[in-house]
Each structure stands twice: as structure tokens, then as C-alpha cells.
């Protein structure tokens, strides 16, 4: 994420079309929520900053938002998240639920069936994503066999994996994060192979977050055949993406892949710079009214901000991971999709005819 933002800052500072230089102050809260709050407060007060790009988890975002409201700053939040928020002091450049969970639900119900198994890390992002996915599965007449949560960081998933192999769901919806997820992918693949099951075709794992660097973390033995819903994959074949990958790998030679998170923070800084240019000053009211007019030809395609809710029009895609730690894109939305953080409009779009009929039709109470 930091890399994506740094690359964008350097591009803007090198460009003659921006009549200013972005001065970057970086701080590392080391994943501790309390540090997020302290650092934000000092950036917005002592530091005199107005615009901050950052936060990955929803818990860290919730931690800092009160300070942005109090000191009238703008948080540029470059991560996909679970929705149900539209803070006046936040611009959201990652995917809203209608841009990644709903397309994933439709894809799974259409191609894999409606018998689901949920496993996730025990926090807000997983809970809310599971709620949305469960609604979609039930609406299609399907069943959720189990919904299990592991503490963040937990790497022993043996009892869940035993249950999965016994129950044989059509797919697993995974909302585990970080090391916990990588351990799960490896252990599931190993256990399935021992049981003579071709895991990636018989019990595929679908995620809303899986990215190229994470495939590398999982390792070559178990990184292929996983379904991921994302607005960005490195394999997007556009000239804008080719230029982004070239610049990124040149600037960060120790990195071998780009990712949705790198792209989202890259997009955030570019949108910020365009909003500043359009507003003519950094003061937040001016920048907020400039948001509606800002567009960017991003690596993922055309991105613009919906001034209704300060989320972005983004292009949903579904990828299947490969052994070489990349993704084959097997679905792509025809055009950027309007963000719908409260699922006011997109809930109904889960296609109820997609699912295999006859399974788990809901019981009616008669007496």
C-alpha cells in the first residue's frame, strides 16, 4: 500500500501538469489500533496536515475517523471493505460490497452451487461479508453448512478442515486474513490431496481479498485454483496497467508483483492530486466539492468518485489463481460499477434463478 502511494506521489511531483509538489509525511502504526489514533491526532493537529492516505482494516479506520471529523481532515481510505458507512471526511478508493461480494456471490451460485461453508477471522470485515454472502446463498435456495471464525492470526485450522472434507460444500467462502489465511490454504490443500480430493475443482475457496503477494506467501504447492473477487489483478491487459507494473517494479526492485491494495493507494493519491488541482487549495470543503469532477484512467480502468457517498466507480472482476502466483481473469464487468455501500440497489441483483434448484428450500412453519 505504501509503495503504491509513494509511486503516485513521485509521478505527480515529476509531472508538469500539477502546479504543486506533494510533501509526504509517513508514519507506521505497526498495526496497533491505539497507535493509529495517536498518530492521526498528531498529524492533524501538530503536523498541520489535512489529507491522509491510509488504514487497511476496518477497525483501524473506525479508530481514526472521529479525529478526521473533529479536525476537519480527509481520510483517503485505499482498501476494499464491508460497506455500511459514508463518512463525510472519508474518500473510499477500494471496492464497496456491491463491487466485490455481490459479483462473487453471483459467480459462485452460477458455477459452483449453493452449498456453502464460511470460514473467517473473527472481526467486523468477516462478519459483515458473511452476512451479505449468507443472504445471497439463502435467497438462491442454498444452505450455509457452517460459519466458523478463528482468532486473527490463528494458524491451526485442522478441525475446520476435517469438517469441510466431511461435509463437502460446493465452495468455501474465506474471510480469513494474513498468515491465518495462508496457513488455511496450505493445510486444506494438503488434507484434500491426502483424501484423494482435487480441492480446487471440487471444493474451491473463494475470497474477496486474495491478491498476488498473498499467493506468494501461500507458496507454489497450494497457491493455484483459488477464486478471488477484486477490482484489480496484475494480469489486466491494458496499457495503463502495463505502465503501472513497469513503473512499480522499476521503483521497487525487491517486489515482484503488484496488488489490488497497491493499486488502490496509487489511485487514492492520484485522485487526491486531481481534486487538489481542481479545487485550487487543500482546504477540505473545496476539495470535497471538487471530488465529483475528478476522473482517472487507472490501471484497472476508468475510476471516478461518486459524490453521493465518496466511494468510487470501480470495475469488478473475478480471477482464478495460477501456480505462478498470478490470476487468470475469468469475469470482468463491462463497465465501472456505481458504488452502493449500503446495498440499497444491488441486494436485489443477486440473481435468484442462478442456483441449482431443489436444494435446501426453506421450511415453512405451519403450526
Amino acid at each position: 500500500m505504501l509503495n503504491g502511494a509513494l509511486l503516485a506521489i513521485e509521478e505527480i511531483n515529476a509531472s508538469a501538469t500539477f502546479p504543486f509538489i506533494l510533501d509526504c509525511v509517513a508514519a507506521d502504526p505497526a498495526g496497533l489500533n491505539a497507535r493509529y489514533a495517536d498518530l492521526t491526532k498528531s498529524m492533524l493537529t501538530d503536523g498541520g496536515l489535512t489529507h491522509v492516505v491510509g488504514c487497511y482494516t476496518s477497525s483501524s479506520r473506525k479508530e481514526v475517523q472521529p479525529y478526521f471529523e473533529k479536525y476537519d481532515g480527509m481520510l483517503w481510505y485505499p482498501s476494499h471493505y464491508e460497506g455500511f458507512e459514508s463518512c463525510e471526511n472519508t474518500v473510499y478508493t477500494g471496492a464497496s460490497p456491491n463491487q466485490h461480494i455481490i459479483p462473487l456471490a453471483n459467480f459462485l451460485l452460477k458455477h459452483h452451487g449453493a452449498i456453502a461453508y464460511f470460514i473467517g477471522s473473527n472481526y467486523i470485515w468477516a462478519w459483515e461479508n458473511n452476512r451479505i454472502m449468507r443472504e445471497a446463498v439463502l435467497a438462491a435456495g442454498g444452505v450455509v453448512l457452517a460459519e466458523r471464525y478463528a482468532p486473527v492470526g490463528e494458524t491451526d485450522h485442522s478441525s475446520a478442515i476435517a469438517q469441510i472434507l466431511a461435509l463437502r460444500p460446493n465452495f468455501i467462502f474465506n474471510t480469513l486474513i494474513g498468515d491465518s489465511a495462508y496457513a488455511f490454504f496450505r493445510a486444506l490443500r494438503a488434507a484434500a490431496t491426502r483424501a484423494g480430493i482435487d480441492q480446487s475443482t471440487e471444493i474451491p475457496v473463494a475470497s474477496c481479498s486474495l491478491s498476488e503477494p498473498e499467493l506468494k506467501e501461500i507458496g507454489p504447492e497450494a497457491c493455484d485454483g483459488h477464486i478471488s473477487s477484486s477490482v484489480y489483478f496484475q494480469s489486466i491487459a491494458t496499457s495503463a496497467n502495463a505502465a503501472f507494473i513497469r513503473a512499480y517494479l522499476k521503483r521497487f526492485p525487491d517486489q515482484s508483483v503488484t496488488s489490488a491494495d497497491a493499486e488502490a493507494s496509487y489511485v487514492a493519491v492520484h485522485l487526491l492530486a486531481r481534486a487538489l488541482r481542481s479545487a485550487g487549495r487543500q482546504e477540505i470543503t473545496a476539495v470535497r466539492s471538487a471530488l465529483a469532477h475528478v476522473t482517472l484512467d487507472a490501471p484497472q480502468g476508468r475510476v471516478r468518485i461518486d459524490s453521493d457517498n465518496r466511494h468510487c466507480f470501480l470495475t469488478p472482476r473475478i480471477g482464478v489463481s495460477t501456480r505462478s502466483a498470478g490470476f487468470d481473469i475469468i469475469f470482468q464487468s463491462a463497465q465501472p460499477v456505481k458504488p452502493d455501500p449500503y446495498l440499497v440497489w444491488d441486494e436485489a441483483r443477486v440473481d435468484r434463478r442462478l442456483a441449482t434448484p431443489g436444494i435446501g428450500s426453506r421450511l415453512r412453519v405451519v403450526k
Partner: protein, 216 residues
Amino acid sequence: MIQRLTVNFRGQSALLMMAEDDNTRRLRDILEKLGFFVSRCDVLSEGPQTGSAIACAGLIIVDTDHLENPTVSLLAGSMAPIIALIGHESPSRLQRALEVEPFSVLMKPVGNRGVFTSLFFAFNAHRRHRNLHDELSTARERIGSRRVVVKAIIRLMETEGFDDEEAYRRLRQESMRSRVSVEELSARIVARGQDRQRNESTGALHEDRDKERKRK
């Protein structure tokens, strides 16, 4: 029974009972983005038009800072969930707000934060309340008709020679078969004269007994 929660408000109608000001404009804007159809009337209006607006609304948000008695009585008949929009946190005003039985509150000034939560509680707590209300009415009716059920059981014991357990089991069976409540069926049995009851109303019970014999 599992209750599905309301988290999507698309197509609902919201009636704002408040003056047109910045709060109202912000609130209308947020509600429309959440899919509501929004209308507004003044908090002090009380004509028949206001009555019908209240009757049609799927949600009412009322500015309780300016609430007076006539509006309180109008709102008392509402079937829709009510949200109190509160500015003054003084006990006298809060007491007035409580009189319209709101299911949640919104604080002034209205911002994005809190509106969805307030709607969530208004709709879902209101439904829970209505369900409890319905259950209470049913329970009251049941208690009221216990005497007649007892009478019907005694009658069946006398006329058919069942013990009380069997008589009650037959009553329940027949009530399910004919899709009327046990209370209703009991009332019918009791209402019929003893002679007619032998021939008609327990006919079904005899049939059941015959069927069972055949199965055996």
C-alpha cells in the same frame, strides 16, 4: 421462528414531521440515498391531510422539540415505526418525546453517522414489538376461552367415554384436520345440543377412530 431483519429500506415511505431547515434537508438527502420516498409536513399541522399522511407512512420521523398535544394524539394511532428527532435533552422535552413511543432517536444536528443505526432499530424493534403485541392478543384470547375448552373436553368424556387426555388429543387432531383453532372447535361442540352433538359434531371424531381401526 427466525425473524429476518430489515436492512434495506428501498421503496419505503418516510414522513418527516418537522420544519424545513438544514437538518431536514440533510436528513431527506440521506434517506433518499437509502431508497426512501420522503414527504414532509409541519410538526404542528393536524388536519385530515396530516392524518392520512401518518396512516400511509412506513416510517415517521418527528421533531420532538416542537411537539404539541394534538400531534401526540395523531401519532398515537400510527402503525408505522416512529423516530424522535431530538435537540433539547431536557427531561421535559424527552418526556414529551416518549409519549409518541419512538423506537429509536436521532440527535440534531443530523449527519451521516447514526442515521442507518436509528433506522435499523426503528424498523426491527418496531416489528419485534408488533409481534409481541400480536402474541399477547392471541394469548389473551386463549385464556378467555379456556373455560369452553374444558367444557368441550368434559362433553367428549361424557359422550365418547374418552379420558381427559384422549379427549384433548382428539380435539387437537380434529382442530388441525379442519383448520380451526381448538378454542373455536370447542365452542362449536359446546354450542350444539347433546343429541345433535352425538350425531354431527363428533362425526369427524368417529371417522378418525374408524380410519385408525382400518389402519390397524
